[in-house]
């Protein structure tokens, strides 16, 4: 008796293909054909190998080489497979049965997997990858004799440096340190007064006081929230061809800023973004947070083609899961859409099971008003509809008979002189208007304006926020063949990444079918440090904090913690920091403080730059390895170029223009007309936006139209919201120089800067230069810089005055201020 029931038919895909693939194809597949035999194609299998005997004889369960050899005795020389375990009796029986039934084999070649299992199976070995380990692998090392201060971070760093006989570089000067700290924590340069009071404060807690103050500043959330918005691919429009606005998405941006300011525990921050609607349905903030899932681009289209729509749908879903994977877990889940992940232990099955968490979701507007407010709106709206309908009816009732009275006569008159073949003329409103009496015209106008009035009286709809919600009946979910949206395969149920499950199954989180709250389960799994993905979540966010404070992460591939990502430079430190985060209730601010309070953070540039870390050629010979040329070991500080937003915000601060209002709808700053030429976009970006104080808000509040990004932000490598962005690429290209030299907005701020100098430093040129340096660079100018500045100012003033410009002196000062915006020292935080 076989393993099958008597009447069952053997399913090739399910039963036979795996057997052949796992046991035979390594030697008899597309790569190798031992004995001239291949078993990945039906025709080849029927033909057999060099022996000339067919391997398979359909409908013959006794002969045929294949059956003979797999049922040979284990010690026989001709047994197959030649090594290892023989096929089990029920497997042989299956094959026999299948052959007896005719060896039905679809017209295709079997998957060339080189003998690997056809579907990836996640093993305990896979869980041994460093990033998938539980936290708490490493302990804080003992203090090293060369460690400055008591910060635990420095113990890890100095221990590592000591192995290479290196040490931290000396502390940065107070001025440099303060500017670094301000730009890093709040993204704004310190005022001259803030610099002075810091330099004058000699108490041991001077620096810590500043750190505390900046962490408590509302500007902190505006700065650090932006980092998260990069990951969330946040924008104020929907992208693609029509790129219609998402006019209420800004509530999400405000949520992020507020969350960073309030130090919302990171596990809750994540939970709300994944499952606010399920876990906190009455908490508006939590529900706004869930917008995260749906912030990506979507195609808006009128097409009815089912395949086309399915492709858009799966592109959208892929964006959701890829963003969650990269932003939260540092894993490239998107790679598993078409086939098992090539490098990481992520089977396609896991991809589609996790995708099914998102398939029941749809984009929605969340009402923010209270019940009575909504009720009031509803009745006002109904009343308005009634008024409007009445006014339209009145117009119609009057107009139709009036037109009918004159229509036929008009048409006859207009048709006169019509040539044969020409179309009959149509009567337009202007024709009737001409035919009407003066009184009739007046009446018509009155009724029309009554309609307009009624239209204008529409009540303002109550505010809503963009978010996601679950549909009543979740769709069926399938494993899509080869990632094709139009090729559903086997049905799948919700689940999570197998490799990030320890001692619990997805079902343990999801609960019984029918009562599942998929997002809530996802969030619980995501933040579960013991059995779920929590340890990785903590590692990834801690690394991001490090990346932004220090310029590079401890893992320099911040959204790829998989096997293709880089190894951490300081695995013990990363593990310990992630543990600290969890032990501290997932609060981020204490970690920020820990990082910026470290001596590692406060060190200056290695003296001689990177050069000091290079052993001399004589000492090492030509093949000498530089001990820390890439600063992996953190033996010094490297200058960081300001991000696009921080550059723009700094220019606003220095020119005295910054409008510090927080929150609210995105601000539409002007965009050069020649860029604003996209057509067919919904909600076109205004062409008449003015450069006004309302637009001088921090850049995080600028409206982001995906098809029309602010050129200054774009050219300085601002995040492209078409996908999650973990790392700005700090390029150095000529259009950046052109922008700083010629952009009218930059020039206008230079003018404001110059006027500010006159207001604050008077007419004295030397005082102006001093003030300019204090404002722009946070330090007094050196003597040679004063001299160069004064020489420039007088030469420019003379040259401009010679050209007959009445305000040559002030323009010269503007030229000077403009030049300061282009200095490397302004563009970089040392």
């Amino acid at each position: 008796m076989t393993a099958l029931g008597d009447h069952a038919t053997v399913d090739f895909n399910k039963s036979i293909e795996p057997l052949l693939v796992e046991n035979c194809l390594k030697c008899h597949g597309p790569e190798k054909q031992k004995g001239g035999l291949r078993l990945d194609l039906r025709a080849a299998a029927l033909k057999g190998g060099d022996s000339g005997d067919p391997a398979i004889l359909p409908k013959d369960g006794r002969h045929g080489k294949l059956l003979q050899l797999i049922s040979a005795r284990p010690e026989s020389d001709s047994r197959m497979p030649p090594k290892g375990e023989m096929l089990k009796p029920d497997q042989v029986a299956l094959l026999r049965r299948w052959i007896e039934e005719g060896a039905v084999w679809p017209e295709r070649t079997l998957a060339p997997t080189n003998g690997r299992p056809r579907e990836m199976v996640v093993s305990e070995d896979d869980r041994k990858h460093w990033a998938f380990q539980p936290l708490g692998q490493f302990q804080l090392p003992p203090p090293h004799k060369r460690t400055r201060g008591t910060n635990p971070i420095d113990r890890f760093v100095t221990a590592k440096l000591a192995e290479k006989r290196l040490k931290l570089s000396p502390e940065a000067s107070k001025g440099i340190l303060l500017r670094r700290l301000y730009l890093d924590l709040v993204g704004l340069p310190p005022s001259p007064e803030e610099v002075r009071s810091f330099v004058e404060d000699t108490s041991p807690t001077a620096y810590e006081k500043r750190v505390d103050r900046l962490l408590a500043s509302p500007a902190f959330g505006e700065r650090w929230g932006r980092h998260w918005l990069d990951l969330a691919r946040y924008a104020d429009s929907k992208g693609y061809e029509r790129d219609g606005d998402r006019p209420t998405a800004w509530h999400y941006r405000d949520f992020v800023i507020q969350a960073f300011n309030d130090d919302l525990p990171f596990d809750r921050f994540i939970t709300w973004q994944l499952a606010g609607d399920e876990l906190a349905p009455t908490n508006l903030t939590a529900r706004i947070a869930t917008a995260f899932i749906g912030l990506g681009s979507v195609v808006e289209t009128d097409t009815k083609l089912a395949d086309e729509l399915a492709r858009y749908r799966y592109a959208d879903l892929d964006d959701m899961i890829s963003t969650v994977g990269q932003a939260m877990l540092g894993l490239t889940l998107g790679c598993a859409r078409c086939h098992d992940h090539k490098y990481d232990p992520i089977p396609t099955r896991d991809y589609y099971r996790m995708l099914s968490v998102f398939t029941p979701l749809e984009r929605r507007e969340l009402p923010l008003a209270t019940g009575p407010e909504l009720e009031a709106y509803r009745s006002a709206s109904e009343a308005h509809q009634r008024r409007l309908k009445a006014a339209k009816q009145a117009l119609e009732d009057w107009l139709r008979p009036a037109k009918e009275a004159v229509g036929p006569k008009l048409l006859t008159a207009k048709s006169a002189g019509l040539k044969p073949g020409e179309k009959e003329p149509k009567l337009g409103d202007s024709d009737f208007r001409e035919a009407f009496t003066g009184e009739q015209r007046q009446e018509w106008d009155r009724l029309k304006s009554a309609v307009k009035e009624a239209e204008a009286g529409a009540p303002t709809p109550p505010p809503t926020a963009f978010t996601m919600g679950v549909v009543d009946t979740p769709p069926q979910d399938f494993l899509m063949k080869r990632g094709e949206a139009t090729q559903p395969g086997e049905e799948v149920t919700p689940g999570f990444l197998t490799v990030l499950l320890r001692g619990k199954s997805a079902e343990d989180y999801l609960g019984p079918v029918g009562a599942q709250r998929r997002q809530a389960a996802l969030a619980t799994w995501m933040t579960d440090t013991e059995h779920g993905a929590g340890a990785l979540l903590a590692r990834v966010i801690v690394n991001r904090l490090w990346q932004h404070h220090f310029g590079e992460g401890l893992v320099r591939t911040p959204s790829d913690f998989g096997t293709q990502g880089e190894l951490p430079s300081h695995p013990e430190l990363l593990d310990w920091l992630a543990g600290e985060l969890v032990r501290g209730g997932w609060k981020l601010k204490p970690l920020h403080k820990l990082m910026v309070m470290s001596a590692t953070y406060q060190q200056g540039e290695a003296s001689g730059g990177l050069a000091h870390r290079r052993p001399s050629a004589a000492a090492t010979g030509t093949g000498g390895v530089e001990p820390d040329a890439d600063n992996h070991l953190l033996s010094g500080r490297r200058p960081q170029r300001l991000e696009a937003e921080i550059l723009r915000d700094s220019i606003l601060v220095v020119s005295g223009c910054l409008n510090t209002n927080m929150f609210g709808p995105g601000v539409k700053a002007p965009v050069p007309a020649e860029l604003n030429s996209a057509y067919n976009t919904f909600d076109p970006y205004p062409k008449d936006a003015k450069d006004s104080p309302e637009t001088w808000r921090r850049s995080v509040y600028l409206f982001t139209k995906r098809s029309l990004r602010q050129p200054l932000l774009e050219v300085f490598d601002g995040a492209d919201p078409s996908a999650t962005c973990a790392r700005r690429l700090p390029t150095t290209v000529a259009p950046q120089a052109l922008a700083l030299l010629n952009d009218t907005w930059v020039r206008a701020r230079a003018k404001d800067f110059a006027q500010r100098l006159v207001r604050e430093a008077g007419e004295d040129r030397t005082a102006q230069v001093h003030r300019a340096y204090a404002l722009a660079l946070g330090r007094p100018p050196r003597a040679d810089e004063v001299k160069a500045g004064l020489r420039f100012l007088s030469a420019q003033a003379a040259s401009r005055t010679d050209r007959g410009e009445p305000d040559g002196g002030q323009l010269a000062l503007t030229d000077f201020c403009h030049a300061l915006f282009g200095l490397n020292e302004f563009l970089y935080a040392d």
Partner: protein
């Protein structure tokens, strides 16, 4: 300026040497970033970090030095231009079972245009392209192209980047990433855009995950082709020179405190480059020294053909100056939903003389031997009518043509079915088109890769075959 990590780069000490030799470049240095998530860099990548647009050789002998891609946005109809279908004429008015993008397909609609055979090759060309018809012996028609998406923006992205989703590097970015550019004072990848803006916007020429230096630069019409190329009104060239001198002096002192930080120097040099570029780009756009006969050749003497003709002339001036990749978009689109006849007459009239002039001019200047021309849209059109006289989108079969360097002229490759609905013989995918372009530029398409998000991406994703029959 994030550090360049990996110990693999032993060239750190030599960077300043590199810089001294580099001498400039539009995207002189995209220093960091390139490494970013890209761990598995090939040898020589370090040089690409420092001089992103420095010319470099591909893996194959290059036939073409430059590409001019005449992008016929909106989806021109193959069987109304180059691929007459007698069967379609015969079955005019019959209904077939077909789904269309906007729904409500009408019956089969014959082409409203007369076709004649031209040249020694006897290629068929519709009456709307009389000037272009004179060049068919230089052209290889590929009449069996197919795409995936039925919708403009995804189809545009597909044709430009190989993916229907936004955010992937465009073909121009890949080519300049692979080969750099001969011109160091102009961008390596220039887009002469649709004056109405293209569907999908700048992502059609975006760099995606490649460094910003490889992004397409949109040139405007008129004397100031690049954003921020002209100085603010209250600054003269002398004023700017004085500013640059002051900045150089101050920046130099700052740099002295940061020896070994190569991008500080790069940034300093960038100002000088930007300063030079202002005159270079203005010179490029200044057509006053082109002869009257040249301007006439491109159709600049007639309002209907002047705008597109000017872009074709600019394209020649760009490749003359060594720019690697030029895309010329038509103004308005071939999106003939309402009236195939009127739309295609208008669009052909706008583009005919410019394209014919470009072919003739490149040839007479000997540039056609080193320049590849590609003509095509993001999809084709339906043989059935829409609303009586129009045609809806059709990604199932359409025509693209190649001419110039490395291309066998006077031939046709592939075919659609008898009514032009679907490519049936020698089907050519968008990846095949891209593979062929890269091949002619000297790049093996499977070897031009970039590691991003844990995967090695290619312009041709996981497929693509060079269309060898059209190679000379």
């Amino acid at each position: 300026m994030n550090s360049q990590h990996c110990g693999r780069y032993e060239a750190t000490a030599n960077r300043r040497e590199f810089l001294k030799r580099a001498g400039g470049g539009f995207g002189l240095l995209a220093l960091s970033g390139l490494v970013g998530e890209n761990r598995l860099l090939a040898a020589g990548e370090d040089d690409r970090l420092l001089r992103p647009l420095a010319p470099r050789a591909g893996q194959l002998p290059a036939k073409a030095k430059s590409i001019i891609w005449l992008f016929m946005e909106g989806g021109p109809s193959g069987f109304d231009l180059f691929d007459p279908k007698p069967e379609l004429q015969r079955r005019h008015g019959q209904r077939i079972s077909v789904e269309t993008f906007f729904g409500n397909p009408g019956p089969l609609l014959r082409s409203p245009f007369e076709f004649k055979q031209h040249g020694q090759s006897g290629a068929w060309v519709s009456e709307v392209y009389p000037n272009l018809a004179a060049h068919v012996d230089d052209i290889a028609f590929v009449k069996s192209c197919f795409a995936e998406s039925n919708n403009h923006a995804p189809a545009m992205f597909h044709m430009n980047t190989g993916f229907t989703r936004a955010g992937f590097p465009s073909a121009g970015s890949w080519v300049t990433y692979g080969l750099g550019s001969e011109s160091q004072n102009l961008p390596g990848f220039v887009v002469l855009g649709n004056r109405r803006g293209s569907k999908g916007g700048p992502q059609n020429w975006g760099n995606g995950f490649l460094p910003g230096a490889y992004q397409g630069t949109l040139f405007r019409n008129g004397p100031n082709p690049i954003l921020n190329l002209t100085r603010p009104a209250d600054i003269t060239r002398a004023d700017q020179r004085a500013q640059l001198d002051l900045m150089a002096k101050l920046n130099e002192a700052h740099r002295a405190e940061h020896p070994g930080e190569a991008d500080l120097l790069a940034r300093i040099q960038n100002y000088e480059l930007a300063y030079r570029m202002q005159s270079e780009a203005l010179d490029l756009a200044d057509l006053s020294r082109e002869s009257v006969s040249t301007k006439t050749l491109y159709g600049l003497d007639q309002p209907s053909s002047q705008a597109f003709g000017t872009k074709c002339l600019l394209a020649r001036r760009l490749v003359e100056r060594g720019v690697r990749f030029v895309q010329v978009y038509c103004d308005e689109e071939w999106d003939a939903h309402g009236d195939i006849r009127q739309n295609h007459i208008d669009m052909a009239t706008q583009t005919d003389r410019g394209i014919a002039g470009l072919l003739a001019d490149l040839k007479q200047r000997g540039l056609l031997d080193s320049t590849l021309l590609v003509w095509g849209g993001e999809f084709g059109r339906m043989p059935v009518s829409e609303g009586g006289k129009g045609r809806d989108h059709n990604p199932n079969g359409f025509t693209v043509w190649f001419a110039g360097a490395g291309v066998k002229g006077g031939m046709t490759h592939g075919a659609t079915d008898e009514i032009g609905f679907k490519a049936v013989q020698d089907r050519v995918s968008i990846h095949d088109l891209h593979a062929t372009m890269l091949h002619l530029m000297g790049i093996e398409h499977k070897r031009l890769t970039y590691l991003h998000s844990g995967r090695r991406f290619r312009l041709t994703d996981v497929s693509g075959e060079v269309i060898t029959p059209i190679l000379s």
